[in-house]
């Protein structure tokens, strides 16, 4: 077990985060077309305990199911990158294990996006370094952007490639100046579970986006606005359009999926729930009488489309059941009780600990001012998921400099930058980025690659915070290897001045979600 327990200042226990995440070696790998049955409920071990998957539709016979069958030319299925053991995402540990098991020949490593760039030599780990080191897939998008009807969007900024360690953005066939100009950015796959919450249109959805008053995307089947909370850049409006797009790109399918296939994928995704169910420190997270918001069954029961940032419907309801627990003199029981108390304190840090939220577009620019004295739950306010309520993209500094994680530049530095760096210069007739000005350096322009807007540069849709223990590394660019690094990143970004105890408690809390 890669998770050690350490005693810190009195009774507070900390889950020592695994170096490279969890659910890797030893975790079951679901191969496309295996034909196994996905049970109604299952537990998948990870270094923190076990993740629960609940399928409210009952067991799924995966033979012939479009989520599980290879549908394109490269042998992948949806399940290739949305593995149950990785909370329907994909941990980098699982990627590495699969590389070792197949010597890099699994369809997971397809050149189209499982390689840093398709022109690189196959089966060479260096060609797949971003997938192997950070769990990143190449996302290639047309430049300039295209609207839903295919028309060209005139961007508000000029885009230059400053650094191109993968060679893809300057490549004559795949790059920005190729015959078919593309921008390549590198992103983590998101969870294909709890999607009833992710796609809910019951809160904050209107014809115009609350972030910047531009028109909302609509469901092409109903013409009704959608919440635009899917994918890192919200470029697909519905589960069906996302599946269709993914089949064409990630699966390299030439023809369109049938209506029956799209319907089956959507139905499956909306009945699947995932969350950590047990924990090496806290024991069962889903036992009767425990916190009502933990565990996969709680996800299946919860109400979607609820703003959780209030004391009537918490983001993650944990109540006070673990706030103060007895000491029995039995080391294992006392250690568990101490850890559970730490989880409750970590919840309180997440929910109540104020700090200055400053210079973050699409939170400080929506009408509440810059800065804003609030808490983690202000941006992560979606009940049960910790996503933003709707239209949830923000620039929290994960990809934009100066906050994005970059290796030090010096003659003595060991690490080399792995990600591309772009320079975006807002045109004179456009309003500059509110907090970074007219020139922004970024590893991934995020939503701006879809809209061409300066205020969207580096804005990334907030991910759900469930199943974190099963799917390291974190952030859209995989820049943070452990949950502790996530906590430390935010402490640095927003000058939160967290104490060591607060950091430990918050890390422990995150590991139970």
């Amino acid at each position: 077990m890669g998770c050690l327990l350490a005693v810190l200042s009195g009774a507070a226990l900390a889950a020592d985060p695994p170096a490279a995440g969890s659910s890797g070696r030893g975790a079951p790998w679901w191969s496309p077309g295996s034909g196994e049955v996905l049970p109604a409920a299952a537990a998948y071990p990870n270094d923190y305990g076990a993740l629960g998957i609940v399928n409210t539709g009952g067991p799924v016979a995966t033979q012939g199911h479009p989520f599980f069958e290879p549908l394109g030319k490269n042998g992948r299925a949806c399940v290739t990158c949305h593995q149950p053991a990785s909370a329907m995402s994909l941990s980098v540990a699982a990627v590495r294990a699969q590389w070792e098991a197949t010597q890099g020949r699994d369809p997971l490593f397809a050149a189209i996006d499982g390689m840093n760039c398709p022109h690189l030599p196959a089966a060479d780990p260096a060609s797949h370094s971003l997938l192997l080191s950070r769990g990143l897939f190449r996302v290639f998008l047309p430049w300039p952007p295209r609207a839903a009807d295919g028309s060209r969007i005139e961007p508000q900024f000029d885009l230059e490639v400053v650094r191109d360690p993968t060679g893809c953005n300057t490549h004559p066939e795949h790059g920005l100046h190729s015959a078919n100009p593309q921008v390549s950015v590198y992103r983590r796959p998101r969870m294909a579970a709890n999607l009833r919450y992710v796609t809910s249109a019951r809160f904050g959805v209107g014809r115009f986006i609350g972030k910047n008053a531009t028109p909302s995307a609509v469901d092409p089947l109903t013409n009704q606005p959608v919440n635009m909370n899917m994918m890192a850049d919200a470029r697909e409006p519905t589960l069906r359009t996302q599946a269709a797009s993914a089949a064409a790109t990630h699966l390299q399918r030439d023809d369109a999926l049938t209506e029956a296939q799209l319907a089956a994928i959507q139905e499956f995704e909306l009945q699947l729930y995932a969350a950590q169910d047990s924990h090496v420190g806290a024991g069962s997270l889903a036992e009767p009488g425990g916190p009502s918001g933990l565990g996969a069954r709680a996800m299946a029961r919860g109400e979607d489309g609820v703003l959780g940032n209030n004391d009537g419907s918490f983001v993650f309801p944990v109540e006070d059941v673990w706030r103060s627990l007895p000491r029995t003199g039995k080391p294992d029981v006392d250690a568990k009780n101490a850890f559970r108390e730490s989880v409750t304190r970590g919840h309180d840090v997440f929910f109540f600990r104020t700090f200055w939220i400053k210079d973050a577009t699409h939170i400080n620019t929506v009408g509440m001012g810059n800065p804003l004295k609030r808490t983690c739950a202000t941006c992560h306010g979606g009940h049960m998921t910790g996503m933003d309520s709707a239209n949830g993209w923000m620039d929290l500094g994960t990809t934009n400099l100066p906050w994005a994680v970059e290796p030090p530049v010096s003659p003595w530095a060991q690490g080399k930058p792995e990600l591309p760096l772009f320079k975006l210069t807002c045109k004179a007739n456009a309003e500059p980025h509110a907090f970074l000005g007219r020139v922004v350096y970024t590893q991934d322009p995020g939503r701006a690659l879809i809209t061409g807007r300066c205020d969207d540069i580096g804005a990334i849709v907030i991910q759900q915070m469930r199943g974190l223990a099963a799917r390291a590394p974190y952030m859209s660019n995989g820049s943070l290897a452990t949950l502790r690094e996530v906590v430390d990143f935010y402490d640095r970004r927003f000058n939160m001045k967290l104490t060591e105890r607060e950091r430990v408690d918050l890390t422990n809390f995150l590991s139970t979600l």
């Binding site: 014809r207 115009f208 940032n309 004391d311 009408g367 509440m368 004295k373 907090f435």
Partner: protein, 258 residues
């Protein structure tokens, strides 16, 4: 009576007199906004000619005051009252326009002091409580729209500003009303107006902003799928600022007719 007490009373009388003298006066000035922390929510201040003015507190999106941004100068336009809050003379009503370009000098966050207390805020700095607290399962129901033959909407802008996040609500209201009313005609008139500052200087909005605003509002409604038989999009020449409610000219008027 101790001398210190007499001095304090005298000073407070002077301050009260000074406040009373300025009451009702409209101020318009450009300044760095200042944030003062309190034991609850922070408040927003700005300094003008050696005096500190109170603009408002951090609230929620439902709040009527839209706070400015640190990192930018703001154009403050408001009416002097006889009250002090957070150490500043209250301007009410007040509008603060965030000016687009960055200004790194505008970065002051003052610490909380016991003497400055905000006890009327409906929205604490953490999670909502009280009247903003709403348990899961209880959803607010919207009152049905009342449709009339002609309905006028105002879309207000900050100085030199175009459509921003705060206008999403305006556009949603116009769109929903026009759809419900099965509107046959929409008239959109853009306006712009500068600011005559209290020091006599004049600030002008960028050229053709009235046109840009009108076309932007019309374009967004069309892009969102609003289908109306007749569209009229026009704009007025820039209004001449006089230092009194100059902000009111920075708007687009939308008239929806059945």
């Amino acid at each position: 009576m101790p001398k210190t007490v007499i001095r304090a009373i005298a000073l407070s009388l002077v301050a009260t007199t000074a406040l009373a003298e300025g009451t009702g006066k409209t101020l318009s000035f450009k300044a760095c906004p200042i944030v003062r922390d309190t034991s609850t929510v922070p408040c927003w201040l700005a300094e003008h000619e050696g005096e500190l003015y109170y603009l408002g507190i951090q609230t929620d999106l439902q709040g009527t005051f839209t706070p400015p941004y640190l990192g930018h100068q703001a154009l403050v336009e408001g009416e002097v009252t006889g009250r002090r809050l957070c150490g500043g003379i209250v301007l009410e009503p007040v509008r603060a326009s965030t000016l687009p370009e960055l200004d790194s000098n505008c970065n002051a966050i003052l610490p909380a002091e016991d003497r400055y207390q905000i006890d009327f805020n409906p929205r604490p700095p953490g999670p909502s409580v009280g009247r903003y607290q709403r348990p899961a399962g209880q959803r607010q129901r919207r009152a049905p729209l009342e449709v009339t033959a002609r309905q006028e909407f105002q879309v207000q802008f900050e100085f030199d500003g175009r459509v921003k996040a705060r206008n999403a609500g305006d556009l949603n209201r116009i769109f929903n009303y026009a759809q419900t009313a099965k509107a046959s005609r929409i008239s959109i008139v853009g306006r712009q107006g500068g600011a005559l500052l209290s020091n006599g200087q004049r600030m002008d909005e960028r050229p053709e902003l009235a046109k840009i605003r009108a076309e932007e509002v019309a374009g967004l409604l069309r892009q969102a799928g609003l289908e109306v038989r007749e569209w009229s999009v026009s704009w007025n020449p820039p209004a001449v600022p006089d230092g009194k409610e100059d902000w009111a000219d920075r708007r687009v008027t939308v008239v929806v007719e059945q």
